[in-house]
Amino acid sequence: MSDRPPAAGPAFAIDPEKCTECERCMGACALVKTRVVRLADACITIQRRWPEVPGIHVCRFKNCAGQPCIPACPVEAIASRDGYVLIDREACTGCGACLEECPYQAIRLDGEERAFKCDFCGGRPACVPECATFALAVAGKGAEPGREAGGRP
């Protein structure tokens, strides 16, 4: 969908103040992951705090301090390669330990009780070009930088 070059390493620039809560990012994520628009499958979630600014729940990758999901996994199903924090779905036992440790509420369990989260679409996140207000951008790629570096959960 996007002609953007891949990011040097995975990192979102996120500014919830700019989010209009349209959920287009969620729809685009679900579509690319499952071929249908099923919002429950989206790896990014907009949490409403109407009328206050919403929460944006998605993995921060490089911007996540300590990446606590990795040591939390008892079966070592989560690992980081070049900042790409990824879950090995086959190894996952669905214990939910990573869900509790994630400071961004970015990991959930799917219908088969396996943990899933954003994988940055391998470098070109499908959600980013859909965001009309740049609440969501790829960090350091010419996008307007978000005011939230580490992210507010």
């Binding site: 969908m1 103040e17 209009t20 809560e21 349209c22 959920e23 287009r24 729809g27 685009a28 679900a30 579509l31 499952t34 071929r35 249908v36 628009v37 099923r38 919002l39 429950a40 499958d41 409403r48 009328p51 600014v53 859909e130 009309a132 207000t133």
Partner: protein, 619 residues
């Protein structure tokens, strides 16, 4: 599932508290969805002489082939029912997230039938219905009702609800969905008559399309068009994305076409205090969007309220800036926003509510109406807010105003000034200033409505706003096209930017149904004729395709150039319009045109008075 549609309508029999999903027959599927489904179902199942507030009326909530997909600007859902305001057929729309959620619940629509024995809340989860006691919520506002449903059923449900006005049958009560509104025509009163206080929907299914690659290309193309529009300084949709729908008030005012003090004047001296730019300048503003929409024309503002406290208020839409602003002589943005919120709490259409209040204010200034405790004068804050509350509660003069401007004027006098068509209060535009818009208002199947009018072309001077010539065919074309896009269900603003050729391509990619633009427009025309037959059958006539008397007096104020409607020219334009439509001089579709449209079996629908009582507006 056929692409993006589920081929499933949920029928809820409220009297029996029973629900069943039914497949969509082929003869309905050709209407695509949205308004097309609603109009066809109502025409087939609810005779035009039905009392709109009786159990025999139905309320049909539908979505379309693009709902729930990533096609931008398709968040809306459509309600079709028989209107208690006009007594004709009604179609109305609300954005937000309800439409997508209905689609995620595996439904193309919900048909509410009968009347619940007790006040009820409906919960629809993936097509399964449960009934819940609504007694604790009676008399509560729409925001409280919505909050209650989210607490009870889960924060992720999407809802619609009515307020006290809908419970009490206010003829212009709306249905509210998370600050988006099915505003016009009294759908809230119909829901109230069925003793349904609210509906919550939760869906867990995924929406696909028949041709996903082509669909994704169209989405990308359309998104690019919208992005460009939003980046242009003087693009209307771009202005909407920056400050909301109230962006255009200065332009309209400058052209002497901003209806002011009950349409006496065409300019409001305080417009710059209440337009979209004023709100953006005066208050902290946060833009909020409907599902999947890059335009985000909704605005939330942080206010210092009249009592000194700070709170969030939904910014008024353009039409409300007129109806509770210029039309009632109110130049205070806080009063306007509070009036807007009062309408939301009671659950009323801000348009007809405001215009009806304006009528009462003028009647008060002329000494023809009074209300204890209120000083009925233009611009009087207490009078504006007080009248709205009285309408919502049906107290005092509010009980009379709640019947709609035509019925109120028949009771109290002042019919000559009542700015209504088919008992529906005027939308924010001045027929005297814009002659095509005059025709569109007069011939609208839902009365005094701006949704299918050449407003943009006339107000910007793209075409001569004063000319009568050529407007008949123009208006017909807009009516047909907009009806067609409302089958999808597109936001009305989508078509401001999107090339029309995209619509049939979207339909084909989503559903596999092949059609060209002429077929698409022809579908809109077919729906328009079906609506017209329904209205004729309900007792409406050519005399109801008329403008109020005030339109034949010049607008006051220099910028409006004494604009007026010439009675003979207007009637000639109406004749021409009927001819272009293939209708006779009384506005009855000819057998030949009905045959061309495949509607011959509906000819009898348009014959009034087969047994029943007098037509509703005469009632």
């Amino acid at each position: 599932m056929s692409g993006s549609m589920w081929n499933s309508l949920l029928r809820i029999d409220l009297s029996a508290r029973r629900a069943r999903a039914r497949p969509v027959p082929d003869e309905l599927a050709v209407y695509l969805g949205g308004m097309g489904y609603g109009v066809k179902l109502l025409a087939d199942e609810v005779p035009p002489r039905t009392d709109p507030l009786s159990p025999e009326n139905k309320l049909i909530l539908t979505v379309g082939p693009l709902t729930g997909t990533l096609a931008p600007m398709h968040p809306q859902s459509c309600i079709v029912t028989k209107s208690p305001l006009t007594d004709g057929i009604l179609n109305c729309y609300a954005g937000g997230f309800l439409g997508a959620e209905l689609k995620f619940a595996g439904l193309d629509g919900i048909v509410l039938e009968g009347r619940s024995p007790d006040w009820t809340l409906l919960l629809v989860e993936d097509g399964q219905v449960s009934f819940h006691d609504a007694a604790p919520l009676l008399g509560k506002g729409t925001a409280e009702t919505e909050a209650w449903m989210k607490k009870r059923f889960g924060p992720e449900v999407r809802t619609l609800s009515i307020g006290p006005a809908g419970e009490k049958g206010v003829a212009f009560a709306g249905i509210f969905s998370e600050t988006r509104t099915f505003g016009r025509g009294g759908a809230g009163a119909v829901l109230g008559s069925k003793r349904v206080k609210g509906l919550a929907v939760r869906g867990s299914l995924g929406v696909g399309t028949v041709h996903p690659e082509e669909f994704a290309r169209l989405v990308a193309e359309n998104m690019e068009q919208l992005r460009r529009a939003c980046a242009e300084e003087y693009n209307l949709v771009g202005m909407f994305s920056r400050v909301g729908t109230g962006a255009g008030m200065g332009l309209v005012n400058g052209r002497g076409g901003l209806a002011t003090r009950y349409h006496e004047y065409g300019q409001f001296e305080k417009f710059a205090e209440i337009d979209g730019f004023a709100y953006a300048r005066k208050f902290y503003t946060r833009a909020v969007a409907c599902y999947g929409c890059p335009v985000h024309c909704g605005m939330l503002h942080k206010f210092r309220q009249a009592d000194g406290s700070e709170g969030w208020l939904r910014g008024p839409e353009y039409e409300t800036m007129y109806s509770l602003g210029s039309e009632v002589g109110n130049g205070d943005p806080v009063t306007l926003a509070e009036a807007n919120r009062l309408c939301e709490e009671y659950g009323m259409d801000t348009l007809t509510a405001g215009v009806t209040v304006a009528w009462a204010l003028e009647m008060g200034e002329k000494g023809l109406a009074r209300e204890p405790g209120l000083s009925l004068r233009f611009g009087d804050r207490e009078a504006i807010l007080g009248l709205l509350a009285r309408i919502g509660r049906r107290e005092g003069i509010g009980d009379l105003l709640a019947r709609g401007p035509l019925r109120a004027a028949r009771e109290l006098g002042g019919l000559d000034i009542a700015m209504q068509i088919k008992n529906s209060g005027f939308a924010a535009w001045m027929p005297r200033r814009m002659k095509g818009t005059a025709l569109a208002f007069a011939t609208s199947n839902r009365g005094a409505c701006h949704k299918r009018a050449p407003i943009g072309a006339e107000i910007t001077g793209q075409i001569d706003m004063n000319a009568y010539e050529g407007k008949a065919a123009l208006v017909k074309g807009i009516q047909d096209r907009v009806n067609a896009i409302f089958t999808l269900v597109s936001c009305r603003f989508h078509e401001f930017v999107t090339p029309p050729e995209l619509y049939p391509r979207f339909v084909q990619a989503a559903t596999g149904r092949s059609m060209g633009l002429p077929d698409f427009d022809r579908l809109g025309e077919r729906i328009w004729n079906l609506e017209k037959l329904y209205n004729l059958g309900s007792g409406l006539t050519r005399a109801d395709d008329a403008l109020p008397e005030r339109c034949f007096q010049p607008i006051k104020g220099p910028a409006s150039e004494g604009a007026v409607i010439d009675r003979a020219k207007f009637e000639a334009m109406l004749d021409e319009y009927y001819a272009v439509r293939g209708w006779d001089r009384d506005g009855v579709p000819t057998a030949g045109r009905l045959r061309e449209l495949g509607l011959e079996r509906y000819a009898a629908l348009g014959r009034p008075g087969a047994g029943g009582s007098a037509g509703g507006l005469a009632r």
